[in-house]
């Protein structure tokens, strides 16, 4: 029907408001925000003010930065996006884990892949001891249990030189 034609035709962009857990509001174009599956579903259900109780202002600001950049993605700026991604995952561990939690909750697949890869890069080829220290994982196995698990997957622990450094 003519009357329900898309708003882009008339030049008016549909705006949405995201509200962080700290109560701050961010107004954004719908086309940017629908990269996020959770919000997309809410928009489809007719919401225009979207409260995000699990995402604080600091994290939401980062996520908006990511979505804005990725909304500009075209064939010609692939390199630029790649560099942006590289910089994006450089933050502190605390920030990265906050972001993973939020990206998971919001279902932003591209961001999830980016962050999971970045965390995986910190684990790859590290010794078990180093991984425990880097991520502060406390070992709750008894020595006997630990020995048993190690034995079960002996092939993975043998040989090879694993990186003991904590960076």
């Amino acid at each position: 029907m003519a009357s329900s034609s898309s708003s882009s035709k008339t030049g008016l962009k549909k705006m949405l408001t995201l509200k962080s857990s700290d109560g701050d509001e961010f107004e954004l174009e719908e086309s940017i925000v629908i990269q996020c599956q959770t919000i997309k579903h809410m928009v489809e259900d007719g919401f225009s003010l979207i409260p995000l109780q699990n995402v604080d202002t600091k994290t939401l600001t980062k996520i908006i930065e990511y979505m804005k950049k990725h909304a500009e993605k075209t064939e010609s700026n692939k390199e630029e996006i790649k560099n942006f991604n590289k910089e994006f995952v450089k933050g502190s561990f605390d920030d990265q884990f906050e972001l993973v939690s939020a990206a998971n909750y919001l279902h932003i697949n591209g961001l999830m892949d980016l962050l999971c890869q970045s965390i995986a890069d910190r684990i790859n080829n590290k010794s078990v001891r180093a991984v425990r220290e880097i991520f502060n994982i406390s070992n709750d196995y008894t020595p006997d249990e630990e020995e048993k698990v190690r034995d079960e997957h002996k092939w993975a622990h043998e040989g090879g030189e694993f990186d003991e450094s904590l960076d």
Binding site: F93, F97, V100, S101, N104, M112, D113, C116, Q117, I119, A120, D121, I123, N124, N125, K126, V128, V131, R132, E133, F135, N136, I137, S138, N139, D140, Y141, T142, P143, D144, E145, E146, V149, R150, E152, H153, K154, W155, A156, H157, E158, G159, G160
Partner: protein, 179 residues
């Protein structure tokens, strides 16, 4: 008696663990993430590193077994070996065979999208190869399986493509380049 020893070793362990405890004030970074996020992280690791995580703590014990839609076994990746002619080291061959066997058995009866294997030996391990195929036939493979075997010493590249939808036990030799 045995039980008592168990309690005792648990007790000793608790003390020992306290001594080597990582920074108590800091929280385990992964504790705020659900298991499915951990699985996504595991899927980005090499197979060896993913399996190694089973020893981190109890939570991680079985997580590596849910690493996702593609099972990828590449002998080079698996051990982080970047030299091309490790095929002469039986040590790595046995390690690879063991690893693949274990993973395939874990996936028995489960569904995956894709199985991919690349390794540089084979002929001398025909019985193990048969065993793999047997294990693979018990995994629900949705899309397909791709096997590359490159025996570098013989400078031969034999690619086998396994077409499950036609016949799970039928192999198609797609190309055998000659020198």
């Amino acid at each position: 008696m045995k039980k008592q020893q168990g309690v005792l070793s648990q007790f000793n362990f608790t003390i020992a663990n306290r001594l080597i405890q990582v920074d108590d004030a800091k929280e385990d970074y992964f504790s705020q993430l659900p298991d499915d996020v951990l699985s996504s992280i595991l899927a980005s690791l090499t197979l060896t590193d993913a399996v190694k995580t089973s020893i981190l703590s109890r939570r991680w014990k079985h997580l590596f077994a849910f690493i996702g839609p593609t099972l990828k076994f590449t002998c080079l990746d698996m051990f982080g070996i970047h030299s091309c002619n490790h095929s002469c080291f039986p040590y790595y061959q046995h390690k690879f065979l063991k690893g693949v066997n274990q993973l395939l058995q874990l996936y028995s009866g489960r569904k995956v999208a894709h199985v991919e294997m690349s390794f540089c030996f084979g002929r001398e391990f025909s019985s193990e190869f048969d065993q793999w195929m047997h294990c693979i036939s018990r995994i629900g493979i949705v899309q397909g399986i791709h096997i590359n075997e490159f025996t570098l010493l013989l400078s031969m590249n034999l690619r086998l493509r396994f077409k499950r939808e036609i016949n799970p036990f039928l192999f198609d030799v797609v190309d055998v380049p000659t020198e």
